[in-house]
Symmetry: D2
Subunit: 306 residues, 4 copies
């Protein structure tokens, strides 16, 4: 496949749409992002990198961090994790609390906010409040081959200031005994985790183990079991885009996870990892142009799994 040409065509396809949608404005630190910014990176199993746009500009990966936190928690907790979080699409927005009440405080899946808090809670239990995030960052350093991956203290502080909805979710699950640590401790780790910044170049490389059956393509070691990779990819496909997960599967046909910073990580099993970034979001909180770019990439490149 001529990836250079493919990425250029995708860029040409989506360029007219840049600026459509709405940049996340729930925290000031995200609201200032340029709605016309765009980056698309591909890392392939043979070690090559391709890109178009601002592939060396760092952005807030936000909920994409949930993929790597889940990978860590599965390594540390194994199947016990599934006592406290489900694996089903929720059919509701990312921050809904309705299903929690009906289902005894157990969130539907690890990619909605409530479920991600449970994953971070597990990391805090196993690693402590500080190390939970520093070990996650160390994992991202290893997987991306870049030591520039870091938390953005300004974004973390902003999340903390505007985090009442997440606080509500945490206390709710705590009242059912599903959350094990003190909510403020888990939330602190969660807000720092969400504030991690990466470039699409780094993110595509970091996700490549999910296309490589769990083996780290840079260093050669296995970082996740075969079945773990299958399952994380399955979760990304069924639950990776909140209440537009079905739409993403329908249009793109690849496992993917979006973040409210405008990034999306998508996996082409056995072939490549793709990261896209464009800050303006659609109604469900996923990157509008990013989703469009992945749709075109999947079509033009014949990458649709189905």
């Amino acid at each position: 496949m001529n990836w250079e040409q493919l990425l250029q065509r995708v860029y040409d396809d989506v360029a007219p749409s840049l600026g459509e949608g709405k940049v996340a404005d729930y925290i000031p630190a995200l609201a200032c992002a340029d709605p016309h910014a765009f980056a698309l990176s591909v890392a392939t199993l043979d070690g090559a990198h391709y890109g178009v746009g601002l592939t060396r500009t760092s952005f807030s990966i936000q909920s994409i961090s949930k993929v790597f936190a889940l990978k860590m928690a599965l390594s540390l907790e194994g199947v016990e994790l599934w006592q406290r979080v489900g694996r089903e699409p929720s059919g509701t927005p990312f921050n809904s609390i309705v299903q929690l009440e009906r289902e005894g405080g157990v969130p539907r899946n690890p990619f909605i906010n409530a479920g991600a808090l449970i994953v971070t809670d597990a990391l805090v239990t196993r690693c402590g409040q500080v190390d939970a995030v520093s070990r996650l960052i160390a994992l991202l350093h290893q997987l991306s081959g870049s030591s520039r991956v870091a938390c953005d203290p300004e974004v973390a502080a902003s999340e903390r200031t505007w985090g009442d909805r997440n606080r509500s979710l945490a206390y709710f699950m705590r009242s059912f005994g599903v959350l094990k640590n003190a909510p403020e401790i888990v939330l602190d780790a969660y807000f720092r985790q969400c504030s991690i910044t990466m470039t699409t170049h780094e993110l595509a490389q970091a996700g490549l183990f999910l296309a490589n059956d769990g083996v780290d393509p840079l260093h050669g070691g296995r970082v996740a079991a075969h079945s773990e990779v299958n399952r994380i990819n399955a979760l990304m496909l069924t639950c990776g885009h909140y209440d537009m997960s079905g739409d993403f599967a329908w249009r793109v046909g690849l496992p993917g996870k979006s973040g409210v910073g405008g990034g999306i990580l998508a996996i082409v099993p056995g072939l490549a990892s793709v990261a896209v970034w464009s800050p303006a979001l659609n109604a469900a909180g996923n990157s509008l142009v990013g989703t469009l770019a992945l749709e075109r990439l999947s079509e033009r490149g014949g990458l649709n799994l189905f």
Copy 2:
């Protein structure tokens, strides 16, 4: 791949579990099925067939018919269909009416009962009440290469007698103007459609076009567009097993659609179509041993998409 050996091993894996679960008993015509019955058939793109168990015994395909009805409706209606039915997992049981009320009578996806009624409604509009089902059966004759595929009048009558929940869904959508034809007419076609009987041998063959990019492997013609096939498979993966769709993706990693008669159709894009049948169901109304068999087949055969 040595399919013969693979199927035998899968059978050995699941045989001890035969009889677990509970045969559907909401209508007498299904309640008498043997909970120990089992059949597993594979049809591959190169024209071969493999099987173990009662692969020549007909069973009620029930909701698996929704896959073929959707294919027909997409050919007849195109994108207009999506004005009246969504493409998102529902996160609720197959017959829930709650989401309908909150979302103006538009069902979440074409594989829950409400959505399937909209699909049948579209077929009735385009083909008439009688031809809606006879043309669906003609399609199954063509795809399966078997003229034995037919409705079971006893099952259809039983569905009609015990169909008040579906009647409620139909009148509900009718009150919103989402259902276009008289509910009793749509329900009559729907109950007949659900009563279609097939063997796993026939069903695996009939589903093969979904693994073959839309081309009928028996007769060579294209029966569905490339993008239609991607999308039907994506829907099967995200929505094919009601509120256990995520679990099926997690365990099996293949597009699949279950029926309350105990059948499941699963697709391995580019390779094969698989049909399994075992009447005893799990709590979500999907074949317990059938799901287990597909999980083992996917693992042992390395068929997981992810």
Copy 3:
């Protein structure tokens, strides 16, 4: 109390608001009502009648019929009725189906549509399809002292034509076994019951037994037990105005039951029965000016129970 003067003052209070709100338009037979029409009648325990406006014009009492149907069903069934319908405010609109699903097909109270269908179902079981309504009308003849109370066949036919939401509710409860008779039979009786027409003069007189501890003020006999009257009034206060029942209690402080035809019956225990009619409705489907008139009457007359 000088009722003549009181009613005139209330009329003067509300006259400027006549025409505000929106006449029910879900069926053509109601849509043609004059939004400026107004009538207010009071019947007192000492046998007097007072009125202002079109107190001799018949209108469609619609859901106000539920009060009298409940009285009949309680006489015929006694406490058994409460196995199939609750006594709690629903917190939801009159035609919601959501709570039914969560609570096994048992409606919250006899004044939302689903609950009223259960009451009519009980009448059909006890009296037969035809007599269910003719006996209800005979009761209204007796209580109102007027033989002009009758069904309006045009309204009943219109309800039948546009009754899909109620059909959906009936089939839903039937699928849970809560509704005992065939839905179409119950619905036929229900639509006729809702089509009953009365004047405010007749309605005020008919409701007077509820202010008189169950004794028919015209004929002197007891038509309902002491405790039955307490309980029907309590239900009217907590559930008589759908999801604005709390607002009505807050503003008026009397048991009341509204109908979508613009009528409201309110009870002043130990003193009087009040009927008001004005066809234009507020957002919850209750008469806008009718509610206002009762609020003023309660204030000016010091009738508030609380």
Copy 4:
């Protein structure tokens, strides 16, 4: 009325049921209450007091404090309060969060926990964190004529320790901007407010202004406007017992407010105020024997409003 005899008969009626139900055990400070304890006090407008049982034993009034807090907030805020809290029965348990999400963080009424937090939030805004509760206690001193009314620091501390569900509600409403002060500050005041202890003797006296059209029977001054009293009583009747408010109206027919400590305050407008206490609760969290006692009192005394 011979109140002495009446209360004795009610006691005889309910004595065999003492011990039925279940003492609240969500906090240790309540769990040790004696399930057989019972007290029933009546204060009448003519200044008399009647009682049976432990009428001089203090207990935790818990949610009954919401009646007095609402009275205070209405005096301080007036109608502005109703921008942030509704007046409708919720149809859901006291601590449900579901309706909050659907209705933009605005609770249904001031007697469910979420609504009571808004009331306390208003008191904190007007009076400050400390004075919010000390002024509420001063009001109770005045109304009850007893200076022994006070917070129980042990209960308040216990509530604080086990208050995660209420914390979740507060942060949830804060995320919608409906709660104005910092959640921990509002919660601190709320937990202290709920920990107030009173005897049934004191409580019956304190509630008497609600039977006296807003005039303090002890000191003669008006403490609430005529319309305020009507409305607080209406709210108690429609919303005072969570999702069993309809049942209480049905059985007792009086405005009432229960607390999880086993107390209930009931109002007989124009006549008397009744306080009952028995710690063992029914399934909805209301005193089982207390409700029964009020039912018998209402029947035997002919006090039912309806």
